[in-house]
């Protein structure tokens, strides 16, 4: 009896929460991760509290081993937390060790590598999530065309991934993550494998896409200037075990451009973060 009553109570609770007020919001309470089952276990992330409001562009910054990727992959449902609560739009992502699929569909993931399937054309790669959800081909094609336009690679629908440059492949990966219109975009060092010039350009593009779509974006990087350039808020993590060291609001006007990077305010942020990072790593 309790078994059937409980989910109903939760459903009412999340309705009372009202869907809309929670849209795109992420909430973590005492979220913790240990790797391994035998000693020595690795403490990847110490109990962490963090609220990410709707529409924020939050950057997780830190040296390697600070648990930033672990944290992002937990939010993305790829790693199960050891303990603590992880609420996406007010609903728990994990319930009794089972990932909640309807919650997962509000999350779009972009990885360091584009991870496009080489046996699918760009169009089919971008529309893959829609295909998995059973959308008919004609609709998928129309959706893919629209998405490719948004990320600026129209005309490459029928190409193979290997025929595109690294930057273009990453654009396609972003389009794929946006295809099913999740409220939240999770990005794990998305431009880390690109050359510096392409990377700057992709940061501008990401800012544009973010402001056009109004998505909540959580982005992992180890580049300080990238963090300052993109973020509303930077969460600086320190290693062994990973935990939040500092949270920094970045009050720079938008849209930020190449000129923004030359302003004293921008460079102050960068310098402060450099000092902080040197102190913790």
């Amino acid at each position: 009896m309790i078994e059937t009553a409980a989910p109903r109570a939760r459903a009412i609770e999340s309705q009372a929460g009202g869907g809309a007020p929670h849209k795109g919001a992420i909430r973590m309470e005492a979220l913790e991760k240990w790797y391994g089952t035998r000693d020595p276990r690795v403490h990847a992330l110490a109990p962490t509290d963090l609220n990410i409001p709707e529409g924020e562009l939050l950057v997780l910054l830190g040296p390697s081993g600070c648990g930033k990727t672990t944290l992002l992959r937990m939010i993305g449902g790829l790693i199960e937390p050891t303990s603590g609560d992880l609420l996406v739009e007010g609903r728990p992502l994990w319930r009794d060790g089972v990932r909640q699929n309807e919650v997962l569909s509000e999350l779009g993931m972009v990885f360091q590598e584009a991870n496009l399937f080489p046996w699918l054309t760009i169009e089919d790669n971008v529309a893959l999530p829609l295909e998995l959800k059973g959308m008919p081909k004609a609709e998928r094609r129309a959706a893919a065309a629209k998405l490719l336009k948004m990320v600026g690679i129209s005309g490459f629908e029928k190409r193979w991934p290997r025929e595109l440059s690294g930057g273009m492949r990453q654009r396609a990966a972003i389009a794929r993550a946006l295809s099913y219109d999740p409220h939240i975009l999770l990005m794990d060092e998305p431009f880390g494998a690109l050359d510096a010039m392409t990377r700057d350009q992709m940061n501008l593009e990401l800012q544009r896409i973010w402001s056009e779509t109004g998505k909540t974006v959580v982005l992992v990087t180890h580049s300080i200037s990238e963090a300052v350039f993109l973020a509303d808020r930077i969460v600086l993590l320190s290693p062994r075990p990973g935990k939040i060291d500092t949270i920094l609001n970045v009050d720079l006007p938008r849209p930020r451009t190449a000129e923004t990077q030359a302003t004293p305010a921008f460079q102050d942020y960068v310098r402060d973060l450099h000092h902080r990072l040197a102190a913790i790593s």
Partner: protein
Amino acid sequence: MIQRSLFHPANRAKLLPYVTTPLLVALIILIWHSYVTLSGVSPFILPSPQSVWTAWIAMLYDPRAWNHTLMTVYATLTGFAWALVVGVGLGVLIGRFRWLEQTLNPFIVATQVVPKVAFVPLFVVWFGFGLTAKVIVAAVLAFFPILTNTVLGVKSVDAGHRDVATSLNATSWQRFRRLELPSSLPYILTGMEVGIVLAIIGAIVGEYLGGTQGLGYMMIARMNAFATNELFAVIIHMTLLGFIFYFSIGILRRILIPWHQSTQR
């Protein structure tokens, strides 16, 4: 596309085999012919190229020879089809589930190591002199390269691609159909290339040892009749058959995995 001269260095390497292969074949036939003529070796030991050619042409006009060919083709392809279905199916399961691999691995290694041709008489005892025994021998020989390559293929699925499937919440079937199968196809096709040749060998060895049909039987019959030139003709016939099967898999490769490096020209 940049159009290059036929004799551009980049094209020269590709054209080379079209020149060297016929030349080498001609050279071998010339040496063969000279040896037969000069040494006066008995035609029962080594027939002349001409007599082999005549025998093969005669074979092409003999409906019974085509009937034998058809039997061998049938046994090869049926056995190969079984090997493909079971090998890929089991390979995907083994590649996916570690416990299954650990359970089955000793048996797979054991059956790999056993000289499988040694079981052919046993198959004849069990399944008789008909086609069934030949199909089974072909299937057993073709099975292992297909299985092991499929396992390797499934295990080689890129971790990043698996992350994508996980974050897109793909079902088990979708994961197989959209990720593991296409990702493993280059490996499976390599297994098929080896497997189809082994399937022919299996069918022919099966025909050696029992029954009155197929190219393997035909070889034994010609040998017993001391018609060595006709024996050679059957060998040529089988070789051509092998080429056709092997290149069919190559064509399949171009159709199924145009995206893969192995298909790049």
